[in-house]
Amino acid sequence: MEPTERQYDRIARWLDGEDLRLEGPELQAAQDIRRQEAAWGPMLDAPVPAAAMTAARNRLTRAVARRKHHSLRVGAFVGAILAVAAAIVLAVTVLWMPAPSNGPDVPASVLFAALSTPSDSSAGGDDTGALAERVSALEEEMTSLVYTPAPVDAQNNGSDVQADESWLDDYLNDSTT
C-alpha cells in the first residue's frame, strides 16, 4: 500500500532521526526505504579518475592565485585613489589657506612651487646645485614681496606718524608766532 503524504511526512521525520512512534504500514515503509537506500548507496559510488582530481587541483590553484592577484590589484588601486585624494586635499588646503597674520605674505603659488620642487636625496652633485639655485631664487622672490606689518607693528607705525604730525604742528605754530 502506498503511504499517504501525511504518512510520508511522519516517515521522513522518523528517518531523519526524530523521536516518533511508527507502527504497521508506516514502519514497514520506513524500514523498506532505509534498506533500499543502504543497498543502492555503494552502487552509486564511483572512483574518481586521478586525471579528474589533477585537473580540478590545477584549476583550483590558478583560481586561488588569480584571486590573490586580484586582491593585490584592488589594494594598489585603492592606494592610488587615496594618494590622489590626499594630493587634492593638500592642494586645496594650500590654495585656500588664509594668509598668515604676521610675517611676510607668501603667495600660494610660491608655496606650491616650493612643494613641487623635487627633493630627491639621491640626486647627484649637479642636482644639488640646481636645487640650491632654485632655493635662492625662491628666497629672493619671497624677500621682494610686499611686507605686510603685523597688527602691533601697524599700531606702532600709526603712533609714529601721529608723533611726526604733532611735531610738524608745533613747528608750524612756532614759525607763525
Binding site: 503511504p3 499517504t4 503524504e5 501525511r6 504518512q7 510520508y8 511526512d9 516517515i11 521522513a12 521525520r13 528517518l15 531523519d16 532521526g17 515503509a29 526505504i33 533500499q36 537506500e37 543502492w40 548507496g41 552502487m43 552509486l44 559510488d45 564511483a46 572512483p47 574518481v48 579518475p49 586525471a51 579528474a52 582530481m53 585537473a55 580540478a56 587541483r57 584549476r59 583550483l60 590553484t61 583560481a63 586561488v64 592565485a65 584571486r67 590573490k68 586582491s71
Partner: protein
Amino acid sequence: MDPAQLRAMIASAQKGSAEAYQAMLDAYGPRLYGYFLRACGNHHDAEDLLGEFMLRMVRRLKDYDDRGRLEPWLFRIAANMVRDRIRRGKANPTPLSISAEVEGAVSLGERLVADGPLADAEMLAREASVELNQALDKLDSKTRDMMLLRHFAEMSFKEIAEMYDCPLGTVLARVHRGLRTLKEVMGKRHGTD
C-alpha cells in the same frame, strides 16, 4: 573530519589559503565527482563540472557563514550547476573519430591505447556503472537529484525539502518511488525482477 578541524579549514580557505582549498578538494572532491557523474551520466561532464565547481567555491566561500553543515551548502551549488548544464544541454563529450582528423578529436586507437588493457573486474564495474547511469536517466531530474543528494551530500529529508522548497512528505515520496523504479529497471536488465 571533526567539526573544529572543518571550521579551521573553512576559515583558512576564506582567508585565501591555497592549502585549505586543496584540503577541501581532497575531502569533498570524490563525493562531488560521484554526484556529477550520476547526475550527468558521463565522466567528461563530471570532470568538467568538478573543475568548474572549485572555481565557484573559491568565489563564493566568503559568503558561507558557518552556521549550518557545509555539505548542503556545497551540494546546493553543485545541484544548480547540474541543472544549468542539463538546461543548456551542454553534454559535449570529446569527439571521437577513427583517425582524429577532426581538430581536437581523439582517435579511437589513441583512446584504446591510453585506456590500456582492462581487467575483467574493472570492465564489469564500468559496465555496471553505465547501466546504473542509464537506469538513473529513467527518473525525472528532481527525483534523481533528491536521491543523489541523500547519498552523496548525506542530507536529511528535511534539508532536501528546504532546498527544493517542498513538503517533507513529497521528498520522501519521490525518493521512495525513485528507489523502486531503479530496482525495477536494474532488475529487468538482469532478469531478476
